[in-house]
Amino acid sequence: MSTTTDRPGSAGAAAPPGPHGPVVRVHVPKRSFNSELRAIKIVWRRELIRYKSDRLRMVTTLVQPLLFLFVLGSGLQRLSSAGTHGVNLKTFIYPGILCISVMFTAMFSAASIVWDREFGFLREMMVAPVRRSSIVIGKCLGGASVACIQGVIVLCLAGLVHVPYAPLLLLGIFGLQLLLAFTITAFGVMIAIRIKQMQSFMGVMQMIVMPMFFISGALFPASGLPGWLTVLNRLDPLTYAVDPMRRLVFDHLTISPAAKAALDPGVTWWGWRVPGLLEAGVILALGLVMLSIAIWEFSSTE
């Protein structure tokens, strides 16, 4: 790693060279674990920088969860009060709303791959002497971080829907959000790599995200559903994020056992109630699988 200037020794203390000073000659080292880490880090940081400079995005991605929570939640409360055993509907759907806001932000982050392709920046990353996997990993981590920040903003609203600010509860939800954010970004990146135009991506997103949201049980308990819906519900990755989150919330509420049984029945596989940790494991495993597919796809494009 020899790096030299024209006048060795003068480089450190001397004023930074201008156009007519000595030439600062840098040397690009062979690819190493370290250089891959640097690549991952800078791709990750780029996502954060872009998120930070895009205030509008922070606000717009908040609109939807707020709409669901306070408009839909308050409105339907009048119809459903008989079935919720005294629990406010807003409290019930809150975990689902947390998930959907994380999911939307994560998908939007993944969409930046399509923008990057359209605006040419992807090419700059493609020709760099780093592994394609480093770029994909950096992108997924970046998207996950951004989605998590957005999730935390929604998490701050907990008090408004009668969910206590208990440290363990918040920590648990944060962890689940992180997992979900990562998995959804990997999922989005996997799709975005194959898509050349933003309009198509938006279409695909509408086609996938909304069904995933509705089927997941974000808005209703996942038991006693018609058979076909039960099957779809168990196949929906979002189910495994909403359910443990809801359990965490309900564990911190003082409500009747009847209400708990009705509203938090848990996810069952052939009658067996799936424990929360396994649900988290399912999300992580799905995320890793999709990350691998994304890396494979990205490495095989020219």
């Binding site: 790693m1 790096t3 480089a11 930074p16 060279p17 201008g18 156009p19 000073g21 030439v23 600062v24 000659r25 840098v26 040397h27 690009v28 080292p29 062979k30 690819r31 190493s32 370290n34 250089s35 640097r38 690549a39 880090k41 800078i42 780029r46 920088i49 872009r50 400079s53 895009d54 990057d116 605006f119 040419g120 920046f121 090419r123 700059e124 990353m125 493609m126 020709v127 760099a128 002497p129 780093v130 020219e302």
Partner: protein, 335 residues
């Protein structure tokens, strides 16, 4: 660098029988050339002649169908990473991130290329000062004009001190003043850093700046030499005349003077050794009214015309059809 023992440096680029097909379109047809270290080498030809395809193969962005190429001593297929570490790229289409500032774009590049951390800042200042953008370093790129962006791309391409800088149409779509300043940077670069520059252009006047140029047409190199040598080979002045009946004029030129004339850019054009002395004879003996006449010393346009039988502007129109075909092929092939 180290592999130049007795002042004789290994060539920066060696290309042998390089060939590329996109389906039925034969974009590059067995090209051979070498570029010496420190040279400014220009690839000249109309759009669709195969320049960008060739540059993409040299930059490891496209795989050759057959043939070999090495850049900075490394094979573009088997040593892709080594090639990438040693080259800088400035593409025809912009590849900057508009949401980031100029400095952030360069920093990102340096990180991706693994530039030693303590040298990132001084190197950044150097390359940005060179293209006159140092005072704009904290401005978002989205607010930059086309010329500023191109200059920033050049600065970025230089961030990691590449041994070969590839510029694909670096001045396309820019105003004459910006084009001139970009050429000033390129020449200055050559003075200051041990760098080889490989560029494509379809502006004839720009090709004059190169040490050597290769004229490419329909996927083949039809001429390769210094601009002066190429012009000397022509050895004739170019005479263009406007008449009411071009066909009759061409026939008359053939019959009376034994000259082979063509219509180029709307004028009957031909080459004669001493143009000014020929014009009085032309008026006296042609027998067809001449509305206007012009005589010019050989230019690269004439060189281009003598090798390809057309001017670059006329060739451009023909090739746009071919280009559409190539695009259709690529779209179909990829998905």
């Amino acid at each position: 660098m180290s592999e130049s023992p007795n002042g004789s440096t290994a060539p920066a680029i060696v290309v042998r029988q390089l060939d590329k097909r996109f389906g039925e379109v034969h974009a590059v047809r067995g090209v051979d050339f070498e570029v010496a270290t420190g040279e400014v080498f220009g690839f000249l030809g109309p759009n669709g002649a195969g320049k960008t395809t060739t540059i993409n193969m040299l930059c490891t962005l496209a795989k050759p169908t057959s043939g070999t190429a090495s850049v900075a001593g490394h094979d573009v297929v088997s040593e892709r990473d080594d090639v990438r570490r040693n080259i800088g790229l400035v593409f025809q289409d912009p590849t900057l991130d508009g949401y980031l500032t100029a400095a952030q774009n360069l920093k990102l590049h340096a990180e991706l290329y693994g530039v030693q951390s303590d040298l990132v800042q001084p190197r950044m200042q150097q390359v940005m000062t060179m293209v006159g953008l140092w005072d704009r370093k904290d401005t978002e790129v989205a607010t930059f004009s086309g010329g500023m962006r191109r200059r920033l791309e050049i600065a970025r391409g230089l961030m990691h001190s590449p041994r070969v800088l590839f510029l694909d149409e670096p001045t396309i779509g820019l105003d004459p003043q910006t084009r001139r300043s970009i050429w000033t940077y390129i020449r200055e670069l050559k003075e200051r850093e041990e760098i080889t520059i490989f560029m494509t252009t379809h502006y004839m006047d720009e090709a004059e700046w190169c040490d050597r140029i290769a004229i490419m047409d329909h996927g083949q190199i039809v001429a390769l030499d210094s601009p002066e040598a190429l012009k000397a080979q022509i050895g004739k002045d170019r005479v263009s005349i406007h008449t009411d009946d071009d066909d009759a004029a061409i026939a008359a030129l053939r019959d009376r003077f034994g000259l082979d004339a063509r219509v180029a850019e709307g004028a009957v054009t031909f080459g004669v050794p001493a143009g000014e002395e020929f014009v009085p004879r032309l008026f006296a003996e042609l027998g067809i009214p001449i509305k206007a006449v012009s005589v010019s010393r050989p230019t690269l346009d004439d060189v281009f015309m003598s090798y390809t039988g057309t001017t670059i502007r006329d060739a451009e129109e023909d090739s746009s059809k071919l280009r559409n075909r190539v695009m259709a092929q690529m779209m179909g092939g990829r998905r």
